[in-house]
């Protein structure tokens, strides 16, 4: 049985950052990274650009082989974890091999969630999580575009919206179906979402919010999507983009606690000894201590990977993971929407303050949410600011109450001035 001091399961953002953090502190320990894929790691975030043809698939690898060699990391492809035996600190792979570990990081990410829609399993549909998914979708999108075919996207999250835009740009007639009452729910507030939705409509995309799919039925080469309420959309291409679920199947019986994802503490330790978890596989705690959905945030996965890696290597500079903060940079039809943090709750108390500029019809929209002077969230469409600085202002719980007007007026320079005085 092969044995490594550190084994990292998964080679996406969290896993790769953990490798770097481990090696930064432990120059000698043996490390292996096991990736399900048979090719160099690729971020799900670039897949829409593969679908659109903007990036060739051979120029999107997150890391080249040399990177692993330089770190003296054994990089294993097509290594599927099948079972974890925490009592004996070993992993069993799908091909039957076993690998022993001193410390293990679970960074297996998430897989597309397939909603329990009647008839879905009887039709051909697409998801977008892996490069193979992207290549398959690119092919049908291009065909659909050429023939001005119809595409239906189930789900108006970032993946669905990106894909819808790409399909539309390719020439397809696109319909987005979202069961909640706005696009990009959880990422942007309703006003921002409305501006984004408007852009899609302006570009010929049909957006159906607050609508559920009742059933899917085969139709010729494609399918028909039947909505609750009776409406039907024909689809030459059906993309299911209804979110993701953590990839935890191999953890059954391992002693690693799983709820909505793997349960971890502030150092990304799981319930099992010598096992850490980071990234989309984790049930991320919100920085705000509330129920705001956190997870699926790329910079957050990196942060978790770093925390886990430092904790595994015993790096004394380790700081507890502060909790997830929603953070999105979203480009659509040449425009940009940025969001950091959370919106005010529906029944906000007296400490809450929301400042808004630019409503419907104006050039730009910006909303700043404060609670007792501390920044909670910033949402902007067609307004530029540095989301990284806003993120840090939130994490540091900086009192920006006195600068609320300035922040609203000029969020970029105001936040930069704060940064320059506080942590530069």
């Amino acid at each position: 049985m092969e044995q490594f001091d550190y084994v990292v399961l998964g080679a996406s953002h969290a896993g790769l950052e953990a490798l770097r953090a481990i090696r930064a502190h432990d120059a000698d320990g043996s490390i292996a990274v096991l990736d399900r894929e048979g090719r160099l790691p690729v971020s799900p975030t670039v897949l829409p650009y593969v679908v659109s043809g903007k990036r060739p698939e051979d120029r999107i690898a997150l890391r080249e082989r040399g990177w692993f060699d330089d770190l003296q990391v054994a990089y294993r492809q097509q290594a599927h974890a099948a079972a974890l035996d925490t009592a004996y600190s070993r992993l069993r792979l799908a091909d039957g091999r076993e690998i022993g570990y001193g410390k293990l990081l679970l960074a297996t990410g998430a897989a597309p969630a397939i909603p329990p829609i009647e008839g879905l399993s009887d039709v051909r549909f697409h998801v977008l999580r892996t490069l193979d998914d992207a290549l398959a979708l690119r092919e049908v999108a291009s065909a659909a575009g050429r023939s001005a075919g119809r595409a239906v996207v189930l789900g108006a999250g970032l993946v669905g919206m990106h894909a819808a835009e790409n399909l539309a740009r390719a020439g397809a007639r696109v319909t987005i179906v979202e069961m909640r009452d706005q696009v990009l729910p959880g990422y942007f507030d309703a006003t921002a979402a409305a501006r984004i939705e408007g852009a899609f409509r302006d570009n010929g995309v049909e957006v159906l919010t607050g609508r559920r799919v009742a059933r899917v039925a085969p139709r010729a080469a494609g399918c028909t999507v039947l909505l609750e309420g009776g409406e039907a959309c024909d689809a030459d291409v059906l993309l299911v983009a209804a979110g993701v679920r953590p990839e935890v199947s191999y953890l059954a019986g391992s002693g690693v606690a799983v709820e909505r994802g793997v349960v971890v503490d502030e150092f990304m330790r799981t319930a099992a000894a010598n096992v850490w978890a980071a990234g989309d596989v984790v049930q991320t705690r919100s920085f705000f201590g509330d129920a705001t959905p956190a997870g699926g945030i790329l910079p957050d996965a990196v942060e978790q990977g770093r925390t886990a890696g430092m904790s595994m290597a015993g790096d004394p500079a380790l700081q507890p993971y502060p909790g997830g903060v929603s953070l999105n940079t979203y480009g659509f039809f040449g425009r940009r929407a940025l969001s950091v943090g959370r919106d005010a709750p529906r029944e906000a108390g007296p400490g809450w303050e929301t400042r808004v500029r630019g409503g419907e019809g104006s050039d730009a929209y910006l909303k700043i949410v404060l609670c007792e002077g501390r920044l909670q969230g910033v949402f902007g469409v067609d307004v530029l600011f540095d989301p990284g600085i806003m993120w840090e202002l939130i994490l540091r719980r900086v009192d920006v109450g006195a600068r609320a007007d300035a922040l609203l007026e000029d969020p970029q320079d105001t936040a930069r001035a704060l940064m320059s005085g506080l942590w530069r």
Partner: protein
């Protein structure tokens, strides 16, 4: 991990003129139209201070860690480089950076960031206020980092002591073909010669007497020279062992031109034994033997200027340095090492003592910096063939009180004492100014103080 050059910003010197931004925009413009500055100077309305947003070329760049397209990468040159051919314009890098160092440019349609203009940053060149500096110290750190650390990993220094920095960096540069003398004081106290048979260095090291460091090194250097071996004779001595009880042997060896590299770590007193006064202790300073009470307010005499005394010996090389100015220290260490092949080289390091001077252990470098910026400690360099040269401008010093107020040992000072120190600092600065204005032919070479005084007077 290698360290890299950086562009440093001094808010106190910035007046917001914007020349740096203009210089950057025009440097980065191919046709004079599209470019947008990669440096932004911003004024904080609350404090009135100027701030900067610019890529810091982080050693551990988060913009690159979060980039899903591997379009950002820290290169061997230290620059976090952006690859247009890979960027998908997702802007996640702007969420990874907490410094506003990479931002979307509406004019250019993608993110832009500083690349330090291939080693010649135009913003720095354009800054007339000295608010922007291109700090290349990192190159030296890298070079030093590749050299073997010849001191044990752990040591018994006080928290925040900068002498570890001095020990390690000096030994790294001087190398293993060295005999190291550490006379009684903080450095052997930290464990250089070890305890009970355990050794603190990877080079031969010994306790000379407090009084005879330069003499013992004389014998060592001369014997190896006689046997055809070029062994560096290095002293790391305190100010007492150099300038008080050890001064005779130091003076004798300097006068004889012995080929020794003598480094004096001046913490202005006998700090290892409980902070007693020495000849290097500043006027007014509290020490254990110049206490503060009903009838006493600290030391009543000025410190002697030991490096200047050494210069008058006609040494091959004499310089003062500070750990707050490592680049300068490194350059002087190099020069001193080289000079010690030909004659006596004396390097005087101003070394604040966290415990004996009574300041927080995290402030050592800041204290050292303020000492220099207030002219309290003047950095200069003397080479026998070129005379004396100031290492940095001393004409626009910060107020001496900026330095005094940092230190517990000066807390009791009254107005008259502060005035005394201010005057002494000003006088010393003036002496250094006049010495720096002299050329070898003016009398610095014939080792005759009267000649110098005539010329300077």
């Amino acid at each position: 991990m290698t360290a890299t050059p950086t562009i440093a910003f001094d808010a106190a010197r910035c007046d917001g003129c914007g020349d740096c931004m203009n210089a950057c925009a025009s440097a980065k413009s191919t046709d004079g139209k599209l470019a947008q500055a990669r440096i932004h100077i911003i004024r904080d309305a609350e404090s009135g201070r100027w701030g900067v947003a610019q890529c810091r070329q982080c050693g551990d760049p988060r913009c690159a860690s979060v980039c899903p397209a591997a379009a950002l990468e820290k290169g061997d040159d230290g620059i976090v480089a952006w690859d247009a051919g890979r960027c998908v314009n997702c802007l996640i890098c702007t969420a990874g950076c907490t410094f506003g160092g990479i931002a979307f440019s509406a004019k250019e349609g993608y993110v832009v960031k500083c690349d330090q203009c291939a080693g010649a940053p135009q913003c720095v060149a354009a800054c007339t206020r000295g608010a922007l500096r291109y700090v290349t110290t990192a190159k030296l750190y890298n070079r030093w980092g590749e050299l073997e650390d010849l001191f044990v990993p752990g040591l018994g220094g006080c928290q925040g002591c900068n002498t570890e920095l001095i020990m390690r960096h000096t030994l790294r540069r001087v190398g293993s073909n060295t005999v190291l003398a550490t006379p009684p004081g903080c450095i052997p106290g930290m464990g250089s010669v070890g305890y009970n048979g355990m050794l603190g260095c990877k080079v031969p090291v010994f306790h000379p007497l407090l009084t005879n460091t330069a003499s013992m090194l004389t014998g060592i250097r001369r014997q190896y020279k006689r046997k055809g071996r070029n062994v560096t004779a290095l002293a790391l001595a305190g100010d007492g062992g150099a300038g008080d009880v050890g001064f005779q042997s130091l003076s004798g060896a300097a006068e004889r031109g012995e080929q020794i590299l003598f480094v004096c770590v001046d913490n202005e007193g006998y700090m290892n034994t409980g902070a007693q006064r020495s000849g290097s202790t500043t006027y007014g300073a509290w020490t254990a033997t110049t206490p503060v009470g009903e009838g006493a307010r600290g030391k009543t005499q000025d410190a002697k200027n030991l490096p200047l005394l050494m210069m008058w010996h006609g040494c091959e090389y004499v310089a003062t340095a500070s750990t707050a100015f490592m680049e300068d220290f490194y350059a002087k260490l190099e020069a001193a090492l080289d000079a010690s092949e030909r004659g006596f080289a004396y390097l005087h390091l101003y070394s604040p003592c966290t415990s004996g001077w009574r300041f927080p252990s995290a402030s050592n470098i800041e204290v050292a910096r303020k000492a220099v910026e207030t002219n309290f400690a003047v950095l200069w360099e003397y080479r026998r063939e070129h005379g004396l040269k100031l290492s940095r401008d001393i004409d626009d010093p910060a107020p001496v009180t900026d330095y005094l107020k940092l230190l517990g040992k000066f807390r009791h000072l009254d107005a008259a004492q502060i005035a005394h120190i201010e005057q002494h600092v000003a006088e010393q600065a003036q002496v250094m100014r006049e010495l720096a204005a002299m050329r070898p032919g003016d009398g610095l070479f014939d080792r005759s103080p009267s000649n110098f005084l005539n010329a300077a007077g």
